[in-house]
Subunit: 511 residues, 2 copies
């Protein structure tokens, strides 16, 4: 059995190496590749993906999994080997269900759609990409169909990103969240808007980059195990626990852009860097779900990175970096500016509070598209109606509306959005558990020390990699099932105080 | 047959994609990877190499080659398909002869030796790495042994880099070259040394980089199909005909460093970029041999890049870029500085003329090591004696002696050096043929136009990729077999004039 397990690990290690190589090719494509390199790169990436899929779904892996299953049952649930056998079985089952020919067909359609969408977005011309999107909806339904036995057609697509979650579990969770958010957003909308002028005073790029480096290091990002570059859409990527890189975007006219991208991506990176070295290079390395990954980026970006204790330490240093701009700006003014709430059109630029409304609109619409209760041609109207209803704003064109996000146009429809809000919900619950265990976390933060929190997260979340299902990991880390309440309490307390709308009905502690 | 050929191309295309991916991983490792990423990267690169080797040597490819062989015979020799079948057969035969277990053993030994050598070189302590080098010699002999039927044990290792060449063909060629070089070097050594001060006046990096970009563009390097970065050891790497990148090294105290690295690597890059797009992504893309590749880098670096016509155009622009340093330096002074000849210790810093002596020393020593007529422990003494004898200089320590080059310590002993001098020899013969076809090349050069020469090289060398054996390619391009004479004539004429030692016995035209 030890030999078979070693053989399985070797084969899965090759799959991981191919995936890591594909990730390096993607990183290079975004940060270094010359324009004309794209077509060869597309071919090379496709070859790596195909070989990785072939290797994972090989009969050899299937046989080893069958033979090792009884042995796996005898091992303690949370040991690395038992976890590997569980996760490998799940990955193998899912990967073998989808025919390679379908993957090739989908992939070709996605590349084409992406190109058409880029031009359609530029021209704010949804009809140009409508036929492609129709086909994407159809392909998304077919993809879901390879996983029979679901309650809702979107469930198998959600399972891909957020294992254990379904439309049936997400709907009540989102409904509860919406019920809490709506009155909060409404009351804040009636308040005087925060003064954000201090973020737009003109900040030279090089100094912003230097301050981001300082921030990242203090938070715990180890540059000997990572690297930061510039890209139009910030992201984090891992080639192993000791090589986790990220990108940010810097705008001279918006200080918040680089600062919070750096903290957000650092959150993702700390998760990847914190996976146990024992799991490095194997199937269990990496984050367990979109939601859990997003919980770590948002925990650092929002709960920590937009908090008073954090800036009590960092703001004087930020002033030191930009004396001309910030010497006369009080910490409180800055704090209010980075937490300004205002309903907006673009998800990626939304504030912490209204961000979830953007996500829920997409989630609802993609459920309807896949159910067949909404047609692609009616999508822009449905989109605009929901923005008017939920946020009180109407896109001037489809560019700021239904065409804004790449997800439906570069991937599939279904499964890719819920993770953003799940992440916010998880983040508050996880942060709350950390605070309960270490009440000194905020005090440490005021002195620029993030290691108490980081240590707790490493111990309870990061090191486990993909060993446990997200729901199980949340329970192990926080002692409670996933709940919206910690997040609502966090939002109500923070924004109640900020906007002096403190008499909100904050839900009581989770039962 | 068309189907089988298509299937063969598909499989070989996957091999090329894996090799290109491995190349991207290497490029990333040198230009971007954080220090701690090395160990995962080593594993990922090894996996790609292993899978590429597995794929190339698969029985499926062997069967297709067998089945397609008769068909290949019916095709015109120089069509793409016939060439592919020839080259694929050769690659398959060579690759299947070496067992994977040996490759793994060699590769592990090489990584270890490289580490030990790095420290040994720093400490100028050859004995520290002697045992490792002994084992490398042994492994190199074993590697050669997988290709029985050779006349000299180094032949199979030379064949890997310079197909068609053997010790028996190289020895007379090198002997002839040495006979021509020795009196030239001797006479120049007796002359007043050239004044090189103008290259060491302090040149800011950014301006050097900008001038290199200008140079590269004028020569014909297309930045939309490439990229230049900085690295300690300049190199060129290709991921496809439309993505060929290079690195240079910039020294503020040595203007020649960046200028000639940029031209040299551009020469390599133009070859890769000039391969016919029809061959892109397949086994025939890329240069045909080390010697032929080096011929292109050295043709551009030395024959063009250190010539009067070239600098007639570029020197006034170089003065414009560095007015403070060069305004009072005459073109002739600069020309003599970049062509200064002085016997030296370090191959990579040697001038055009003595460079070949460095190469021939290594070639002779590795033949002796593999024959068994020289022991590893006696190597440093043999090295120093040869430097004293051939160049009249003695290394103060092994750091400037036997430990200087990575080749023996990161690869194998045998086959990696002859290409440097072959390249010089080929370059002169090829350049001569281009001049004969287009006598206006030098006139164009004086006006900053490199396209006549580049066009000829593209037509006669570059576009063919690996289709023809080097010897065959030389004959096709120049109408004559490989000969030392054009190179000797070029050197004698150029340096005879430069050092006023013009009455040398220049060999007559090749018969």
């Amino acid at each position: 059995m030890r030999e078979k397990l070693a053989e399985l690990k070797r084969l899965l290690g090759e799959v991981s190496d191919l995936n890591a190589a594909a990730a390096v090719l993607y990183w290079d494509q975004v940060t270094q590749m010359p324009p004309q390199g794209a077509s060869a790169r597309g071919r090379q990436s496709a070859t790596l993906s195909r070989l990785s899929h072939q290797l994972l779904t090989s009969p050899q892996v299937g046989r080893l999994l069958d033979e090792l299953a009884p042995y796996g049952e005898t091992l303690p649930h949370d040991c690395d080997e038992a976890s590997l056998l569980r996760v490998a079985r799940r990955d193998w089952d899912r990967a073998t269900k989808v025919p390679s020919s379908f993957i090739a067909e989908l992939s070709a359609h996605q590349s084409e759609t992406y190109e058409v969408w880029s031009r359609a977005k530029e021209a704010a011309d949804f009809p140009r990409v409508a036929e492609h999107l129709k086909r994407t909806v159809e392909l998304s339904r077919r993809l879901a169909g390879f996983f029979p036995g679901f309650d809702h057609i979107v469930d198998p697509l959600i399972e891909e990103h957020d294992p254990g979650m379904t439309v049936a579990t997400l709907r009540p969770l989102f409904a509860e969240l919406r019920m809490g958010l709506a009155p909060l957003v409404e009351r804040i909308a009636a308040c005087d808007p925060a003064d954000e002028a201090c973020l737009h005073l003109g900040y030279p790029r090089a100094e912003q980059a230097a301050f981001c480096t300082f921030l990242q290091k203090r938070i715990g990002y180890d540059f000997s195990r990572g690297r930061r570059e510039i890209s139009p859409h910030p992201f984090t990527i891992s080639f192993g626990v000791n090589d986790v890189r990220l990108t940010v975007r810097i705008r001279e006219d918006d200080l918040g852009e680089a600062l919070f991208a750096a903290i957000h991506e650092t959150g993702h990176a700390l998760y990847e860097m914190g996976v146990s070295p024992d799991l490095d290079g194997g199937l269990l390395a990496g984050g367990v779900s979109s939601g859990m990954h997003e919980s770590q980026s948002r925990l650092w970006e929002n709960i920590v990175g937009r908090s008073r204790p954090f800036w009590a330490f960092f703001y004087p240093r930020l002033q030191g970096a930009f004396p001309g701009q910030l010497d006369d700006v009080a910490l409180e003014t800055f704090y209010r500016a980075i937490n300004a709430v205002r309903p907006s059109l673009i998800r990626t630029e939304a504030d912490e509070l209204t961000y979830n409304l953007h996500v829920m609109i997409r989630f609802d619409l993609e459920c309807q598209l896949l159910e067949g209760s909404l047609s692609v041609l009616d999508l822009p109207d449905a989109w605009n109606a929901r923005y008017e209803q939920d946020l009180g704003v109407t896109p001037p064109s489809d560019r700021e509306g239904v065409l804004q996000d790449v997800h439906w146009f570069g991937g599939i429809v279904g499964g890719a959005f819920q993770g953003y809000t799940l992440g916010n919900v998880m983040a508050a619950q996880i942060h709350g558990a950390a605070l309960a265990a270490h009440p000194n976390i905020e005090h440490d933060m005021e002195h620029g020390r993030c290691d108490t929190l980081l240590g707790w997260l490493g111990e309870h979340i990061y090191r486990h990699g993909r060993k446990f299902q997200p729901e199980e990991l949340i329970r192990r880390a926080t002692g409670a099932p996933l709940s919206v309440r910690p997040y609502m309490r966090y939002l109500a307390t923070k924004y109640g105080e900020l906007y002096n709308v403190g008499d909100l009905a904050v839900p009581g502690p989770s039962s």
